[in-house]
Amino acid sequence: MRTVQRLRPRATQAVVFAGLWAAAAVVVLPVVGILALMFIRGGRALSWELLSSAEEGLLPAIVGTMCLVALTALIAAPLGIAAAVYLSEYARSGPLVRLIRLAIVNLAGVPSVVYGLFGLGLFVMLLAFGRCLLAGACTLALLVLPLVITASEEALRQVPGRLREASFGLGATRWQTVRRVVLPNALPGMMTGLILSVGRAAGETAPILFTAAFISLTKPFPSSALDPIEALPFKLYYMATEAHGVSEEVKWATAAALVMLVLAMNLAAVVIRARLRGARRW
Protein backbone atom coordinates (compact mmCIF):
# COMPACT_ATOMS: atom_id res chain seq x y z
CA MET A 1 0.00 0.00 0.00
CA ARG A 2 2.75 2.39 1.00
CA THR A 3 4.82 1.75 -2.10
CA VAL A 4 1.80 2.24 -4.28
CA GLN A 5 1.14 5.58 -2.67
CA ARG A 6 4.70 6.68 -3.13
CA LEU A 7 4.69 5.82 -6.81
CA ARG A 8 1.38 7.45 -7.44
CA PRO A 9 2.30 11.13 -7.52
CA ARG A 10 4.73 10.60 -10.37
CA ALA A 11 2.34 8.48 -12.36
CA THR A 12 -0.42 11.01 -11.72
CA GLN A 13 1.85 13.78 -12.86
CA ALA A 14 2.65 12.00 -16.10
CA VAL A 15 -1.02 11.37 -16.86
CA VAL A 16 -2.06 14.91 -16.01
CA PHE A 17 0.78 16.35 -18.03
CA ALA A 18 -0.14 14.25 -21.06
CA GLY A 19 -3.74 15.33 -20.67
CA LEU A 20 -2.83 19.02 -20.51
CA TRP A 21 -0.55 18.67 -23.50
CA ALA A 22 -3.31 16.99 -25.47
CA ALA A 23 -5.74 19.76 -24.52
CA ALA A 24 -3.28 22.39 -25.72
CA ALA A 25 -2.74 20.45 -28.95
CA VAL A 26 -6.48 20.25 -29.56
CA VAL A 27 -6.60 24.04 -29.41
CA VAL A 28 -3.75 24.49 -31.87
CA LEU A 29 -4.63 21.78 -34.37
CA PRO A 30 -7.87 23.25 -35.75
CA VAL A 31 -6.19 26.60 -36.34
CA VAL A 32 -3.34 25.00 -38.23
CA GLY A 33 -5.77 22.67 -39.99
CA ILE A 34 -8.09 25.43 -41.16
CA LEU A 35 -5.24 27.58 -42.40
CA ALA A 36 -3.61 24.65 -44.21
CA LEU A 37 -6.86 23.60 -45.82
CA MET A 38 -7.60 27.10 -47.09
CA PHE A 39 -4.19 27.61 -48.54
CA ILE A 40 -4.05 24.17 -50.14
CA ARG A 41 -7.49 24.49 -51.68
CA GLY A 42 -7.40 28.18 -52.49
CA GLY A 43 -3.70 28.93 -52.68
CA ARG A 44 -3.49 28.95 -56.43
CA ALA A 45 -6.37 31.37 -56.81
CA LEU A 46 -5.01 33.63 -54.09
CA SER A 47 -3.17 36.06 -56.32
CA TRP A 48 -2.47 39.76 -56.15
CA GLU A 49 -4.91 40.15 -58.98
CA LEU A 50 -7.70 38.51 -57.00
CA LEU A 51 -7.05 40.73 -54.00
CA SER A 52 -6.61 43.98 -55.89
CA SER A 53 -9.11 43.83 -58.70
CA ALA A 54 -12.33 45.78 -58.27
CA GLU A 55 -14.34 44.00 -60.96
CA GLU A 56 -13.37 40.37 -60.70
CA GLY A 57 -11.56 40.40 -57.38
CA LEU A 58 -12.07 40.92 -53.71
CA LEU A 59 -10.96 44.53 -53.40
CA PRO A 60 -14.46 45.98 -52.82
CA ALA A 61 -15.12 43.39 -50.13
CA ILE A 62 -11.75 44.03 -48.46
CA VAL A 63 -12.26 47.78 -48.54
CA GLY A 64 -15.82 47.36 -47.28
CA THR A 65 -14.76 45.18 -44.37
CA MET A 66 -11.99 47.61 -43.45
CA CYS A 67 -14.42 50.53 -43.53
CA LEU A 68 -16.81 48.55 -41.34
CA VAL A 69 -14.09 47.67 -38.88
CA ALA A 70 -12.79 51.23 -38.66
CA LEU A 71 -16.22 52.79 -38.19
CA THR A 72 -17.19 50.10 -35.67
CA ALA A 73 -14.07 50.87 -33.65
CA LEU A 74 -14.79 54.59 -33.90
CA ILE A 75 -18.28 54.10 -32.48
CA ALA A 76 -17.55 51.36 -29.94
CA ALA A 77 -14.35 52.85 -28.48
CA PRO A 78 -15.71 56.04 -26.91
CA LEU A 79 -18.88 54.33 -25.68
CA GLY A 80 -17.08 51.28 -24.33
CA ILE A 81 -14.25 53.20 -22.70
CA ALA A 82 -16.62 55.74 -21.15
CA ALA A 83 -18.78 52.94 -19.75
CA ALA A 84 -15.73 51.15 -18.36
CA VAL A 85 -14.41 54.35 -16.77
CA TYR A 86 -17.78 54.95 -15.17
CA LEU A 87 -18.03 51.41 -13.85
CA SER A 88 -14.52 51.11 -12.51
CA GLU A 89 -13.64 54.69 -11.48
CA TYR A 90 -16.88 56.40 -10.54
CA ALA A 91 -19.65 53.96 -9.67
CA ARG A 92 -19.92 52.74 -6.11
CA SER A 93 -20.97 49.12 -5.86
CA GLY A 94 -24.71 48.81 -5.51
CA PRO A 95 -27.83 47.50 -7.24
CA LEU A 96 -27.42 49.82 -10.23
CA VAL A 97 -23.89 48.66 -10.97
CA ARG A 98 -24.93 45.03 -10.53
CA LEU A 99 -27.74 45.59 -13.00
CA ILE A 100 -25.39 47.19 -15.53
CA ARG A 101 -22.93 44.31 -15.21
CA LEU A 102 -25.71 41.79 -15.62
CA ALA A 103 -26.80 43.61 -18.78
CA ILE A 104 -23.25 43.51 -20.15
CA VAL A 105 -22.90 39.78 -19.54
CA ASN A 106 -26.26 39.12 -21.18
CA LEU A 107 -25.50 41.40 -24.09
CA ALA A 108 -22.36 39.34 -24.71
CA GLY A 109 -24.49 36.21 -24.85
CA VAL A 110 -26.99 37.41 -27.48
CA PRO A 111 -26.60 35.51 -30.79
CA SER A 112 -25.21 37.63 -33.57
CA VAL A 113 -28.19 37.09 -35.85
CA VAL A 114 -30.36 38.76 -33.22
CA TYR A 115 -28.06 41.79 -33.39
CA GLY A 116 -28.57 41.71 -37.15
CA LEU A 117 -32.34 41.80 -36.83
CA PHE A 118 -32.17 44.42 -34.08
CA GLY A 119 -29.93 46.57 -36.29
CA LEU A 120 -32.38 46.16 -39.15
CA GLY A 121 -35.24 47.29 -36.97
CA LEU A 122 -33.49 50.16 -35.23
CA PHE A 123 -30.90 51.62 -37.57
CA VAL A 124 -32.12 50.62 -41.04
CA MET A 125 -35.83 51.13 -40.53
CA LEU A 126 -36.67 53.19 -37.44
CA LEU A 127 -33.79 55.63 -37.75
CA ALA A 128 -34.01 55.35 -41.54
CA PHE A 129 -30.30 54.98 -42.21
CA GLY A 130 -31.17 52.43 -44.88
CA ARG A 131 -28.91 49.47 -45.58
CA CYS A 132 -25.55 51.10 -45.33
CA LEU A 133 -22.09 51.19 -43.87
CA LEU A 134 -23.25 53.31 -40.93
CA ALA A 135 -26.10 50.97 -39.99
CA GLY A 136 -23.77 47.97 -40.21
CA ALA A 137 -21.09 49.64 -38.12
CA CYS A 138 -23.63 50.67 -35.46
CA THR A 139 -24.90 47.10 -35.30
CA LEU A 140 -21.39 45.68 -35.03
CA ALA A 141 -20.53 48.29 -32.42
CA LEU A 142 -23.38 47.02 -30.26
CA LEU A 143 -22.11 43.49 -30.77
CA VAL A 144 -18.58 44.29 -29.61
CA LEU A 145 -19.55 46.74 -26.88
CA PRO A 146 -19.58 44.14 -24.09
CA LEU A 147 -16.14 42.94 -25.16
CA VAL A 148 -14.76 46.47 -25.32
CA ILE A 149 -16.19 47.36 -21.91
CA THR A 150 -14.84 44.21 -20.30
CA ALA A 151 -11.39 44.62 -21.85
CA SER A 152 -11.26 48.32 -20.91
CA GLU A 153 -12.27 47.59 -17.33
CA GLU A 154 -9.53 45.00 -17.13
CA ALA A 155 -7.03 47.56 -18.44
CA LEU A 156 -8.21 50.08 -15.82
CA ARG A 157 -7.85 47.47 -13.08
CA GLN A 158 -4.22 46.99 -14.12
CA VAL A 159 -3.41 50.59 -13.16
CA PRO A 160 -2.20 50.36 -9.54
CA GLY A 161 -4.41 51.98 -6.92
CA ARG A 162 -1.45 53.76 -5.36
CA LEU A 163 -1.12 55.94 -8.47
CA ARG A 164 -4.71 57.08 -7.97
CA GLU A 165 -4.00 57.73 -4.29
CA ALA A 166 -0.93 59.75 -5.15
CA SER A 167 -2.98 61.89 -7.50
CA PHE A 168 -5.85 62.42 -5.05
CA GLY A 169 -3.30 63.17 -2.35
CA LEU A 170 -2.02 66.07 -4.44
CA GLY A 171 -5.46 67.61 -4.63
CA ALA A 172 -6.60 66.18 -7.95
CA THR A 173 -10.29 65.73 -8.59
CA ARG A 174 -11.55 62.37 -9.73
CA TRP A 175 -11.74 63.49 -13.34
CA GLN A 176 -8.22 64.96 -13.25
CA THR A 177 -6.97 61.66 -11.85
CA VAL A 178 -8.75 59.65 -14.53
CA ARG A 179 -7.66 61.96 -17.31
CA ARG A 180 -4.01 62.45 -16.34
CA VAL A 181 -2.99 59.25 -14.58
CA VAL A 182 -5.46 56.41 -15.09
CA LEU A 183 -6.36 56.74 -18.77
CA PRO A 184 -2.83 57.26 -20.14
CA ASN A 185 -1.69 54.14 -18.31
CA ALA A 186 -4.71 52.06 -19.27
CA LEU A 187 -4.85 53.13 -22.90
CA PRO A 188 -2.47 50.49 -24.34
CA GLY A 189 -4.51 47.72 -22.74
CA MET A 190 -7.70 49.32 -23.97
CA MET A 191 -6.40 49.55 -27.53
CA THR A 192 -5.41 45.89 -27.49
CA GLY A 193 -8.87 44.91 -26.28
CA LEU A 194 -10.51 47.14 -28.86
CA ILE A 195 -8.55 45.67 -31.78
CA LEU A 196 -9.23 42.11 -30.68
CA SER A 197 -12.92 42.93 -30.30
CA VAL A 198 -13.41 44.57 -33.68
CA GLY A 199 -11.29 41.80 -35.17
CA ARG A 200 -14.05 39.50 -34.12
CA ALA A 201 -16.61 41.82 -35.66
CA ALA A 202 -14.72 41.78 -38.98
CA GLY A 203 -15.60 38.14 -39.48
CA GLU A 204 -19.28 38.39 -38.54
CA THR A 205 -21.86 37.83 -41.28
CA ALA A 206 -25.23 37.85 -39.56
CA PRO A 207 -25.15 41.39 -38.12
CA ILE A 208 -24.34 42.95 -41.51
CA LEU A 209 -26.53 40.63 -43.54
CA PHE A 210 -29.63 42.81 -43.13
CA THR A 211 -27.99 46.10 -42.31
CA ALA A 212 -25.08 46.89 -44.60
CA ALA A 213 -23.82 44.27 -46.99
CA PHE A 214 -24.71 43.79 -50.64
CA ILE A 215 -23.14 42.37 -53.74
CA SER A 216 -22.32 45.21 -56.01
CA LEU A 217 -22.97 45.04 -59.70
CA THR A 218 -22.40 48.67 -60.52
CA LYS A 219 -20.92 50.49 -57.54
CA PRO A 220 -18.10 48.56 -55.87
CA PHE A 221 -16.98 51.26 -53.43
CA PRO A 222 -19.11 53.34 -51.07
CA SER A 223 -18.92 57.09 -51.50
CA SER A 224 -20.34 57.82 -48.06
CA ALA A 225 -21.26 56.09 -44.82
CA LEU A 226 -24.83 55.95 -46.08
CA ASP A 227 -23.97 53.65 -49.00
CA PRO A 228 -24.22 49.87 -48.76
CA ILE A 229 -20.91 48.03 -48.94
CA GLU A 230 -19.42 44.74 -49.89
CA ALA A 231 -17.84 42.77 -47.08
CA LEU A 232 -15.65 39.69 -47.02
CA PRO A 233 -17.79 37.48 -44.78
CA PHE A 234 -20.92 38.36 -46.71
CA LYS A 235 -19.21 37.80 -50.04
CA LEU A 236 -18.08 34.40 -48.83
CA TYR A 237 -21.56 33.54 -47.64
CA TYR A 238 -23.00 34.63 -50.98
CA MET A 239 -20.41 32.68 -53.00
CA ALA A 240 -21.00 29.57 -50.96
CA THR A 241 -24.80 29.65 -51.18
CA GLU A 242 -26.13 31.57 -54.13
CA ALA A 243 -23.51 32.53 -56.66
CA HIS A 244 -23.09 30.43 -59.78
CA GLY A 245 -19.95 29.92 -61.74
CA VAL A 246 -17.53 30.78 -58.96
CA SER A 247 -14.73 28.26 -58.82
CA GLU A 248 -14.08 26.35 -55.59
CA GLU A 249 -10.57 27.77 -55.53
CA VAL A 250 -11.79 31.36 -55.49
CA LYS A 251 -14.17 30.55 -52.64
CA TRP A 252 -11.33 29.10 -50.60
CA ALA A 253 -9.10 32.01 -51.47
CA THR A 254 -11.79 34.41 -50.25
CA ALA A 255 -11.98 32.53 -46.97
CA ALA A 256 -8.19 32.71 -46.70
CA ALA A 257 -8.28 36.48 -47.31
CA LEU A 258 -10.83 36.95 -44.53
CA VAL A 259 -8.91 34.83 -42.05
CA MET A 260 -5.66 36.63 -42.90
CA LEU A 261 -7.30 40.00 -42.31
CA VAL A 262 -8.52 38.94 -38.88
CA LEU A 263 -5.20 37.32 -38.00
CA ALA A 264 -3.36 40.47 -39.06
CA MET A 265 -5.48 42.50 -36.69
CA ASN A 266 -4.91 40.07 -33.82
CA LEU A 267 -1.22 40.14 -34.55
CA ALA A 268 -1.25 43.94 -34.46
CA ALA A 269 -2.92 43.79 -31.04
CA VAL A 270 -0.28 41.39 -29.74
CA VAL A 271 2.53 43.57 -31.08
CA ILE A 272 1.08 46.74 -29.52
CA ARG A 273 0.69 44.97 -26.20
CA ALA A 274 4.23 43.61 -26.24
CA ARG A 275 5.68 47.01 -27.19
CA LEU A 276 3.89 48.91 -24.49
CA ARG A 277 4.36 46.28 -21.85
CA GLY A 278 8.09 46.59 -22.42
CA ALA A 279 7.93 50.35 -21.97
CA ARG A 280 5.99 50.32 -18.70
CA ARG A 281 6.84 48.91 -15.32
CA TRP A 282 5.55 49.79 -11.91
Partner: protein, 266 residues
Protein backbone atom coordinates in the same frame (compact mmCIF):
# COMPACT_ATOMS: atom_id res chain seq x y z
CA UNK B 1 -13.55 71.35 24.50
CA UNK B 2 -14.51 67.73 23.96
CA UNK B 3 -16.36 65.43 26.27
CA UNK B 4 -14.69 64.69 29.57
CA UNK B 5 -13.62 61.10 29.93
CA UNK B 6 -11.48 58.97 32.16
CA UNK B 7 -8.29 59.35 30.15
CA UNK B 8 -8.62 63.07 29.56
CA UNK B 9 -5.52 64.01 31.54
CA UNK B 10 -3.48 61.64 29.38
CA UNK B 11 -4.12 63.79 26.31
CA UNK B 12 -1.97 66.89 26.41
CA UNK B 13 -3.02 70.06 24.66
CA UNK B 14 0.16 71.55 23.21
CA UNK B 15 0.99 75.19 23.81
CA UNK B 16 1.04 77.69 20.97
CA UNK B 17 -0.61 77.68 17.59
CA UNK B 18 -2.76 74.64 16.84
CA UNK B 19 -2.91 73.70 13.15
CA UNK B 20 -5.15 70.67 13.16
CA UNK B 21 -7.59 69.56 15.77
CA UNK B 22 -9.87 66.55 15.92
CA UNK B 23 -12.79 66.22 18.24
CA UNK B 24 -14.35 62.84 18.96
CA UNK B 25 -13.41 61.24 15.66
CA UNK B 26 -14.91 57.82 15.08
CA UNK B 27 -14.20 55.91 11.88
CA UNK B 28 -16.28 53.01 10.62
CA UNK B 29 -15.52 50.60 7.78
CA UNK B 30 -18.94 49.10 7.12
CA UNK B 31 -19.68 47.45 10.49
CA UNK B 32 -16.15 47.65 11.87
CA UNK B 33 -15.17 50.56 14.08
CA UNK B 34 -11.55 51.47 13.35
CA UNK B 35 -11.33 54.61 15.54
CA UNK B 36 -13.04 55.58 18.79
CA UNK B 37 -13.48 59.13 19.99
CA UNK B 38 -10.05 60.42 18.98
CA UNK B 39 -9.54 64.01 20.12
CA UNK B 40 -6.15 65.56 19.62
CA UNK B 41 -4.57 68.92 18.85
CA UNK B 42 -1.65 69.06 16.42
CA UNK B 43 0.71 72.01 16.88
CA UNK B 44 1.80 74.12 13.90
CA UNK B 45 5.34 73.73 12.52
CA UNK B 46 6.16 70.77 14.73
CA UNK B 47 6.51 67.08 14.03
CA UNK B 48 3.87 64.93 15.65
CA UNK B 49 4.43 61.19 15.60
CA UNK B 50 1.68 58.60 15.86
CA UNK B 51 2.84 55.24 17.13
CA UNK B 52 1.19 51.97 18.02
CA UNK B 53 1.05 48.32 16.99
CA UNK B 54 -0.14 47.25 13.54
CA UNK B 55 -3.87 47.66 13.07
CA UNK B 56 -4.23 50.16 15.92
CA UNK B 57 -5.81 52.74 13.64
CA UNK B 58 -2.94 55.22 13.37
CA UNK B 59 -2.83 55.15 9.56
CA UNK B 60 -6.62 55.25 9.34
CA UNK B 61 -6.55 58.28 11.60
CA UNK B 62 -3.98 59.99 9.40
CA UNK B 63 -6.25 59.41 6.41
CA UNK B 64 -9.10 61.16 8.25
CA UNK B 65 -7.03 64.33 8.31
CA UNK B 66 -7.17 64.86 4.53
CA UNK B 67 -10.29 62.81 3.89
CA UNK B 68 -8.49 60.07 2.00
CA UNK B 69 -10.93 57.67 3.67
CA UNK B 70 -13.63 59.18 1.44
CA UNK B 71 -12.17 57.06 -1.34
CA UNK B 72 -12.89 53.82 0.45
CA UNK B 73 -16.30 52.26 -0.14
CA UNK B 74 -18.18 51.94 3.13
CA UNK B 75 -15.94 54.24 5.19
CA UNK B 76 -17.78 56.72 7.41
CA UNK B 77 -16.43 59.36 9.79
CA UNK B 78 -18.35 60.60 12.81
CA UNK B 79 -16.86 63.54 14.67
CA UNK B 80 -15.00 66.54 13.37
CA UNK B 81 -11.59 67.64 12.16
CA UNK B 82 -10.67 71.31 12.22
CA UNK B 83 -7.98 72.82 10.03
CA UNK B 84 -7.14 76.31 11.27
CA UNK B 85 -10.41 76.17 13.16
CA UNK B 86 -12.58 75.28 10.15
CA UNK B 87 -14.29 71.93 9.79
CA UNK B 88 -12.94 69.85 6.92
CA UNK B 89 -15.99 67.60 6.99
CA UNK B 90 -18.27 70.52 6.31
CA UNK B 91 -20.56 70.16 3.31
CA UNK B 92 -18.98 73.21 1.72
CA UNK B 93 -15.44 71.83 1.91
CA UNK B 94 -13.73 71.42 -1.44
CA UNK B 95 -11.99 68.09 -0.88
CA UNK B 96 -9.45 68.62 -3.66
CA UNK B 97 -8.54 72.01 -2.18
CA UNK B 98 -8.25 70.42 1.26
CA UNK B 99 -5.84 67.77 -0.02
CA UNK B 100 -3.81 70.51 -1.65
CA UNK B 101 -3.43 72.14 1.76
CA UNK B 102 -2.93 68.85 3.59
CA UNK B 103 -0.50 66.84 1.48
CA UNK B 104 0.28 63.19 1.93
CA UNK B 105 3.35 61.00 1.52
CA UNK B 106 2.53 57.33 1.36
CA UNK B 107 4.10 54.22 2.79
CA UNK B 108 5.50 52.89 -0.48
CA UNK B 109 7.06 55.32 -2.96
CA UNK B 110 4.49 55.82 -5.71
CA UNK B 111 5.96 57.89 -8.53
CA UNK B 112 3.79 58.28 -11.63
CA UNK B 113 5.20 56.43 -14.64
CA UNK B 114 6.43 59.67 -16.18
CA UNK B 115 9.57 61.78 -16.02
CA UNK B 116 10.99 63.19 -12.78
CA UNK B 117 10.08 66.67 -13.99
CA UNK B 118 6.50 65.75 -14.83
CA UNK B 119 6.07 64.04 -11.49
CA UNK B 120 6.95 67.20 -9.61
CA UNK B 121 5.05 69.45 -12.01
CA UNK B 122 1.93 67.26 -11.77
CA UNK B 123 0.43 69.08 -8.80
CA UNK B 124 1.12 72.65 -9.96
CA UNK B 125 -0.28 71.80 -13.41
CA UNK B 126 -3.44 70.41 -11.80
CA UNK B 127 -3.93 73.65 -9.99
CA UNK B 128 -3.47 75.77 -13.05
CA UNK B 129 0.19 76.75 -13.09
CA UNK B 130 1.29 77.16 -16.69
CA UNK B 131 4.41 78.47 -18.29
CA UNK B 132 7.77 76.87 -18.67
CA UNK B 133 9.72 79.24 -16.43
CA UNK B 134 7.34 79.16 -13.53
CA UNK B 135 7.20 75.35 -13.61
CA UNK B 136 10.99 75.04 -13.92
CA UNK B 137 11.29 77.18 -10.83
CA UNK B 138 8.80 75.13 -8.81
CA UNK B 139 10.39 71.85 -9.88
CA UNK B 140 13.84 73.01 -8.85
CA UNK B 141 12.82 74.46 -5.49
CA UNK B 142 10.69 71.41 -4.67
CA UNK B 143 13.48 68.99 -5.54
CA UNK B 144 15.90 71.08 -3.50
CA UNK B 145 13.41 71.08 -0.65
CA UNK B 146 13.29 67.31 -0.76
CA UNK B 147 17.11 67.06 -0.92
CA UNK B 148 16.97 65.37 -4.30
CA UNK B 149 18.01 68.16 -6.67
CA UNK B 150 21.74 67.46 -6.77
CA UNK B 151 21.18 63.83 -7.63
CA UNK B 152 18.69 64.35 -10.46
CA UNK B 153 19.32 67.82 -11.90
CA UNK B 154 21.09 66.40 -14.95
CA UNK B 155 18.32 63.93 -15.76
CA UNK B 156 15.01 65.60 -15.09
CA UNK B 157 13.59 64.03 -18.26
CA UNK B 158 14.45 60.52 -17.16
CA UNK B 159 11.71 58.22 -15.94
CA UNK B 160 11.02 58.49 -12.25
CA UNK B 161 10.80 54.71 -12.19
CA UNK B 162 14.57 54.48 -12.72
CA UNK B 163 15.29 56.12 -9.36
CA UNK B 164 16.17 54.07 -6.29
CA UNK B 165 13.56 53.49 -3.60
CA UNK B 166 14.93 56.20 -1.35
CA UNK B 167 15.12 58.67 -4.23
CA UNK B 168 11.57 57.79 -5.25
CA UNK B 169 10.35 58.52 -1.74
CA UNK B 170 12.12 61.89 -1.75
CA UNK B 171 10.54 62.50 -5.16
CA UNK B 172 7.14 61.79 -3.56
CA UNK B 173 7.98 64.43 -0.97
CA UNK B 174 9.10 66.90 -3.65
CA UNK B 175 5.87 66.26 -5.50
CA UNK B 176 3.88 67.17 -2.41
CA UNK B 177 6.02 70.24 -1.67
CA UNK B 178 5.35 71.49 -5.20
CA UNK B 179 1.69 72.16 -4.36
CA UNK B 180 2.78 74.19 -1.33
CA UNK B 181 0.78 72.43 1.35
CA UNK B 182 0.50 73.66 4.92
CA UNK B 183 0.43 70.22 6.50
CA UNK B 184 2.40 67.11 5.52
CA UNK B 185 0.93 63.75 6.45
CA UNK B 186 3.47 60.95 6.24
CA UNK B 187 2.26 57.40 6.45
CA UNK B 188 5.24 55.23 7.43
CA UNK B 189 7.34 57.00 4.80
CA UNK B 190 10.47 54.99 5.57
CA UNK B 191 9.10 51.50 5.95
CA UNK B 192 10.18 50.49 2.45
CA UNK B 193 13.63 52.12 2.73
CA UNK B 194 17.07 51.07 3.87
CA UNK B 195 18.75 52.75 6.89
CA UNK B 196 20.72 55.28 4.81
CA UNK B 197 17.67 56.42 2.90
CA UNK B 198 15.70 56.50 6.15
CA UNK B 199 18.31 58.75 7.72
CA UNK B 200 18.11 61.16 4.78
CA UNK B 201 14.32 61.37 5.03
CA UNK B 202 14.52 62.01 8.78
CA UNK B 203 17.04 64.81 8.28
CA UNK B 204 14.75 66.23 5.63
CA UNK B 205 11.76 66.16 7.95
CA UNK B 206 13.63 68.19 10.53
CA UNK B 207 14.41 70.78 7.86
CA UNK B 208 10.82 70.84 6.61
CA UNK B 209 9.52 71.37 10.13
CA UNK B 210 10.44 75.03 9.93
CA UNK B 211 7.75 75.64 7.35
CA UNK B 212 5.31 72.77 7.59
CA UNK B 213 3.19 71.05 10.18
CA UNK B 214 4.12 67.39 9.95
CA UNK B 215 2.22 64.36 11.19
CA UNK B 216 4.06 61.09 10.78
CA UNK B 217 2.78 57.59 11.36
CA UNK B 218 5.54 55.16 12.20
CA UNK B 219 5.90 51.73 13.69
CA UNK B 220 9.53 52.53 14.38
CA UNK B 221 9.71 53.97 17.90
CA UNK B 222 13.29 55.11 17.48
CA UNK B 223 12.21 57.14 14.50
CA UNK B 224 9.43 58.73 16.53
CA UNK B 225 11.82 59.62 19.34
CA UNK B 226 14.45 60.96 16.92
CA UNK B 227 12.31 63.27 14.84
CA UNK B 228 9.16 64.25 16.70
CA UNK B 229 8.37 66.78 19.39
CA UNK B 230 4.96 65.32 20.19
CA UNK B 231 3.88 61.72 20.20
CA UNK B 232 0.51 59.99 20.33
CA UNK B 233 0.10 56.34 21.20
CA UNK B 234 -2.77 54.42 19.58
CA UNK B 235 -4.11 51.08 20.67
CA UNK B 236 -7.15 49.27 19.24
CA UNK B 237 -8.53 52.39 17.64
CA UNK B 238 -8.16 54.63 20.66
CA UNK B 239 -5.67 57.38 21.37
CA UNK B 240 -4.31 56.20 24.70
CA UNK B 241 -1.82 58.94 25.45
CA UNK B 242 -0.56 62.08 23.76
CA UNK B 243 2.20 64.34 24.94
CA UNK B 244 5.70 65.68 24.51
CA UNK B 245 7.83 62.98 22.90
CA UNK B 246 10.44 62.78 25.65
CA UNK B 247 7.74 62.38 28.26
CA UNK B 248 5.95 59.65 26.27
CA UNK B 249 9.14 57.66 25.87
CA UNK B 250 10.78 58.29 29.24
CA UNK B 251 7.91 58.75 31.60
CA UNK B 252 4.62 57.55 30.14
CA UNK B 253 1.59 57.93 32.35
CA UNK B 254 -0.43 55.04 31.03
CA UNK B 255 0.57 51.50 31.74
CA UNK B 256 -0.14 50.40 28.15
CA UNK B 257 2.03 53.18 26.71
CA UNK B 258 4.78 52.12 29.06
CA UNK B 259 4.52 48.50 27.94
CA UNK B 260 4.60 49.49 24.30
CA UNK B 261 7.52 51.92 24.35
CA UNK B 262 9.53 49.45 26.41
CA UNK B 263 8.91 46.88 23.70
CA UNK B 264 6.82 44.58 25.84
CA UNK B 265 4.32 44.09 23.02
CA UNK B 266 3.62 45.24 19.49
Amino acid sequence: MGSPDVGAELILRPEGEIKLETSGVNLFYDGFQALREVSVAVPARRITALIGPSGCGKSSFLRCLNRMNDLIDGARVVGDVLLDGNSIYDRATDVAELRKRVGMVFQAPNPFPMSIYDNVAYGPRLHGTRGREKLDEIVESSLRGAALWDEVKDGLRKSALDLSGGQQQRLSIARVLAVEPEVLLMDEPCSALDPTATFRIEELMLELMERYTIVIVTHNMYQASRVSQYTGFFLLGELIEYGVTTQIFENPKDRRTDDYVRGRFG
